[in-house]
Amino acid sequence: MEIAAVRPASTADTSPLVAVDHVRQRYSKGSGDDLLVLDDISLSLRGNEIVSLLGRSGCGKSSLLRIIAGLMPASEGRVTIGGRAVDGPAEEVAMVFQTFALFPWLTVLENVEIGLEAQKVPPAERHKRALAAIDLIGLDGYESAYPKELSGGMRQRVGLARALVVHPKLLLMDEPFSALDVLTAETLRTDLLDLWSEGRMPISSILLVTHNIEEAVLMSDRILVFSSNPGRLRAEIPVKLPMPRNRLDPAFRQMVDDIYALMTARPTGKQAQGIFPGTGITMELPRVSPNLLAGLMETVAGAPFNGHADMPALAGPLQMEIDDLFPVAETLQLLRFAEVAEGDIRLTEPGRRFVQLDPDDRKRLFAQHLLAYVPLAQHIKRVLDERGTHAAPASRFRDELEDHMSDTYAENTLRAVISWARYGEIFAYDEDSGVFSLDNPS
């Protein structure tokens, strides 16, 4: 591999490498309204910078990455790379996948060579370039191993080598470290940043999709924060901290805190119950187990938080990323057991009471709040009460939900309500027949 300094040492040049212009993405649901995933996204990427797309799951950041990669077309708007409109996978772009996406039946070397093979590079040169990339990424010695023999970190290195070997200008990374354990992920991040700052990778820019706030602050020159449902560009945050960055540096901590606050800030004009998309009975609910809800309340109630916790401080020791933590916190907010704002979570009076109660009383309190604040639970209960048989098929409610959301979300929402209702013992659900009832099998 040519290790020539493709990146000039000077500051970023001004002509954009990638330009995303008013891109909208919607999925058709078959019936009724289309689902808007990305709403009017415009951004640009210059040479010589690492940019993060930060957002929660469902904000469309992965879709945007795929649109830029030419793997799927945008419903509206256009994307240009190096001034040319993207109408398919572009040669200047290579991608690293969250799931590594290695061919299990090919060796490390063969996996790395696949892109060159597609470009019909002669075998001898292919071999030479692949070995150089493997060497660069620290995989020498593993050339003839199969992916299943490697650890997750090593597999992602293969993914990285495979992307670099085709000499792309732009490296797209789709949550590349999220399937790895904490230590492995950190090693890989550091190695990648070292290669980057030493200019040893033949790339000009990196676009990184992540839901990990610290990762974004650690690695990027700019962070683009997305909001969810539909995905919108909410803020652009330049990160001026010098490299290499230290997670314990107060300026680093402050920036992480600020982004937490930004991401938990309620969009203006929305009610507390508007934290999840949709309104009333068609609100999309996350599948959060009652155990997690109780667990988080207990943690926040206990020392050292005493009922009021800073979310980043909470996330660290619990080893929860925002995609794990936010849905739990927001469900507590929906149930009025907690208030979430400005990156903080504060237990409400019922929340504090809940922690003190014994299991049966907890269930009763939970049931009260569930019926009072989750319209779908209320709705199902009312239907069951009104019917002589006190039973109703789940399909009836599923159909109602599917009119307003995708099938997957409808299923998740229904599963969430079933799980909470079982805990609160307000109605039962029979898996085999798919029927809700008031029978309590006690």
Partner: protein
Amino acid sequence: MAQGDLAKVGRTPLLGLGGVGLRPNIYDLAIFILIAAAFVAMAYGAGEVTAPVARLTVAPVTLDPANLPGYALRTTLRMFAAIGASLIFTFVVATLAAKSRKAELVIVPALDILQSVPVLGFLTFTVVFFLRLFPDSELGAECAAVFAIFTSQAWNMAFSFYQSLRTVPADLDEVSRHFQLSPWLKFWRLEAPFAAPGLIWNTMMSMSGGWFFVVASEAITVGDTTVKLPGIGSWLATAIDAKDIGAVVLAVATMAVVILAYDQLLFRPIVAWADKFRFEQTAAQQRPRSWVYELWRRGHVVRRITLVTSWIGRTVSLLPIPLTQPPRRVVVAPRTGRGSDILWRLVILAVVAYALWRIVLFTEASLGWGDLLTALEMGLLTLLRVVVLISIASAIWVPVGVWIGLRPWAATRFQPLAQFLAAFPANVLFPMAVVLIVSLHLDPNIWLSPLMVLGTQWYILFNVIAGASAFPTDLREASTLFRLRTWQWWRKVILPGILPYYVTGALTASGGSWNASIVAEVASWGDTKLKAAGLGSYIADATEAADYPRVVLGIVVMSVMVVACNRLVWRPLYRLAERRFRLA
């Protein structure tokens, strides 16, 4: 445990079980009518031939042991010709079904139904057809035999391949598009390797079933003509006519040697090699082994083959044809296909209507309601036999299989044996049973029946063994700790645990039994003819009398019954097993 792993390798949903709904599909009905019409057309064509089929000048099969190796070789070659044809069929038809929605609409239900059709029933038509195609030549009869074996093998292989193509992992598909792999490269780097384990497993199952048909299709009587192709099946038929029990024993021994050789020399090496295609990101603890494969590897045979094939692959990939060019534009799912879809459906509808009309014309001329009633009655008798026999076989082999499967040392020993027995063509053993029935003056209506499951019961056994050896140790330990009573243990622990495996085995066994009934319900020993009343003997009799309308009627009734069994019993059971009892 190599064999247990092997069984897991091929655990793609079985043909006829992978369907989404239980509701009868309108396409199934349409395709069924088309297939029935094809039979009618074949019968019609066969009836046109008034002249004796052909005057074959084949060297007569003699019972000289010196000829037996040659016969065995001929039989084996027929088998491989058929498996070759099945593979080509698989690659073409399954790829077509996976890539074209219109083709898919027809092919998938057709595969499902064809697999339920008793192929032995229409051997007559195909023999007549091929004899006319190559008059006065042995080739016609050879083609007919190969075709008969093909029809017993191709469907599940094609279905497995189709399913694999449809379930290629999304991320790998994205990688292929991202790096702009040409269709050629994508097929060999992604699709074929991904489909390999399922296809190899299904090919193996097909070959196991195929030996039965190769034996049955070598000696065919149509009207007054008997065609005997040199092979083990014809040797057997000759031995039966001559009442030569020694020759029968020799045939059994030869068959055993042949199957053992095919298993050790061909399939074990292929399975051992194909292990690397398993789509797993973790290394398996135990990998299938084969001494032949090890030998190959040590002798650098594998490496040389790889070199040659990769050279061929590379040369082809450089050819300037569309197949090897990168797909230039993103393929957007076209939403404009509605109109042509409707047109396509209309075409199918028109063809089906025409087919139905032809069937009615054909049956009106030669069949009455009474015939249908008789066929249904006979069908119920055969159904009764299948139900009783599968129940008895299950009652015996489920406990045995569980016992074996829970003991790793026993599983390693007995699993290959059970697979060997499943591959062994049971019809080679029929004469021995017939001798017994004749000499003991037993009632053929009862005692011929076990022959139907003689060869197919082993599918239950080796699937149960595979299920029991895959049963998680922690669950076993938990049930031991709770000191579950024997009955409780069976009902709550092990039976649910092996249910998915059992259903797979029992479905294969019952399908095979229906097919076997055509040769099992009628048997002879010299001049003595034994017959059990049933749909199998109904078809066999009609074949012998060259009564084509009744052959068609028999086949159609049997197909309907098999399809109905699959839809009403096995599919719901399988879905239940998959949903509730699939362990990890």
